[in-house]
Symmetry: C2
Subunit: 294 residues, 2 copies
């Protein structure tokens, strides 16, 4: 038991991540009061029905009032609006954090939209599923998974410590890094894989009806694993690609070069090159299993 | 209970698929005797230790002698050698089947290597995991999964019926199609996804050491799903790409066009195009879940 870390926590955007955070915080007694904020009426009804928070509102300013910690868990494209709405309501000394998948724009843009009297500690939990909405969350989502914090250079040390404690209390492993480094790393581990999955599933979606039915029927042969990733929230992912354009395009270029080389190996029948690559990739899998991230 | 369908079954190549077939056949009492053949000594020791077969040998001809059904479950590149070895040992009326991921070359090349007195019924179970070897198999692998048969035009109807019954007895759903159609369908549902997964994991494997460690550390954000696929057996997959070159290269070309379009949408910041694609791909996932293949 870590005990209460923040008296009052407001979570703005109460989907998979927001609702999982609320469940974990409640389960571990890390806050006294949890306020849920979601602009979607159906989502709010679900939050109330499942009793996922102590208070429920559709208004970010109402949620932020008196909060000791405000966690923005909405798509990146909604950040500026939310920041403008909560700014007048935030009490001095309040901590503002988030869970967004791209950190550069958060560190760059949010400080200018928030009062100087609050402490910004951006973060990103490396966890998730392909499901969306408040009902899809679960309290163990963050256990054994990394939470990356990207505090600005002038961040308040106490605020950084407390945000880290909160997520550690939810079972996360904590890492601190520079926002732009985060965006490069996630560009290859997360954004490029999603981009590729969306593309290949889109390629299949463009097939004529008969062929498409067969793709679905026989999807257990590999394709279905991509559809899981490509079922992720469309709004969230649109915003990720619009906000991490450079890192994604750079990684995509490397991927394209490698794909061209592999294409050539298949065309000329270079079995040795294929076997070598497939052996190297197997080794990476082994290392992920060893790192307990499989 | 289906009862015994083939008195004596020889399975040549006793890895994930071969050993799973043996387990399922045994569990459902579909054969009286199962003969396991694997050229790898360590594999044979595992087969004996786990008592996965009634007889174990390293010699395909020994395995095939007196067999009512011979199932080739080795990588495609080994088929010609195996066919030449078993040909003199096969008894008249024996059925020869396989589980290979590409069917065109099997239908084209195997008849010329086998006696005219045996019946060829090529097949492909749409099931698997990223693990290899006899210890990785399990008896429920084929339950609820498709088994595609691609019998030649002059196939023996009774042999086709019995092979279908065997796999249905193991829990499979049965589909019959033309070999070249199979290779096109699997090109998009299986071979292209594997090719893409191998490429992206290879791209990560080429990063400098520090970056590679971070990719492994934060792989839960999407990358790890690709590493699972890219951990599949290197020999098997080399042979798949060498044997289904045309269909794979054609699908790869469509994929490349789609990827280029998506790349452009990211570069110009076309959020609407991204959102539209990500919504369509989500629908494909829903259809796979509805088809109970998720």
């Amino acid at each position: 038991m870590s005990g209460v870390i923040f008296d009052r926590i407001a979570i703005i955007g109460f989907g998979l991540i927001g609702s999982s955070l609320a469940r974990a915080v409640k389960a571990h007694g890390l806050a006294r009061v949890i306020v849920a904020c979601d602009r979607d009426e159906a989502a709010r009804a679900t939050i109330s029905r499942l009793a996922l928070a102590d208070e429920v509102t559709g208004d970010p300013a109402t949620a932020a009032r008196d909060a000791d910690l405000v966690v923005i868990a909405a798509p990146l494209g909604a950040y500026a609006d939310i920041a403008k709405q909560i700014a007048p309501a935030l009490k001095p000394g309040a901590v503002v954090s988030d869970v967004g998948s791209v950190k550069g724009p958060v560190v760059r843009d949010l400080p200018g939209l928030l009062p100087k009297t609050v402490h910004l500690v951006p973060g990103h939990p490396i966890a998730g599923t392909e499901n969306s909405g408040p009902a899809s969350g679960f309290e163990t989502l963050f256990e054994g998974r990394w939470f990356i914090m990207t505090p600005p250079l002038d961040a308040n040390a106490e605020a950084v410590r407390k945000v880290g404690e909160l997520w550690a209390g939810c079972g996360s492993l904590i890492e601190i890094m520079d926002a732009s480094h985060h965006d490069k790393v996630l560009g290859i581990t997360s954004h490029l894989p999603h981009l590729i999955a969306y593309t290949i599933v889109g390629t299949a979606a463009d097939l004529e009806d008969d062929a498409q039915s067969e793709v679905i029927k026989f999807s257990a042969s590999g394709f279905r694993d991509f559809t899981r990733i490509a079922a992720s929230d469309p709004t969230m992912w649109r915003d990720v690609f619009l906000n991490n354009r450079e890192a994604v395009l750079e990684m995509l270029q490397r991927f394209n070069e490698d794909l061209t080389a592999l294409q050539r190996a298949i065309r000329v029948g270079d079995g040795e090159a294929l076997f070598d690559l497939f052996t190297r990739t197997r080794e990476i899998r082994r290392r992920i299993i060893d790192a307990h991230q499989a």
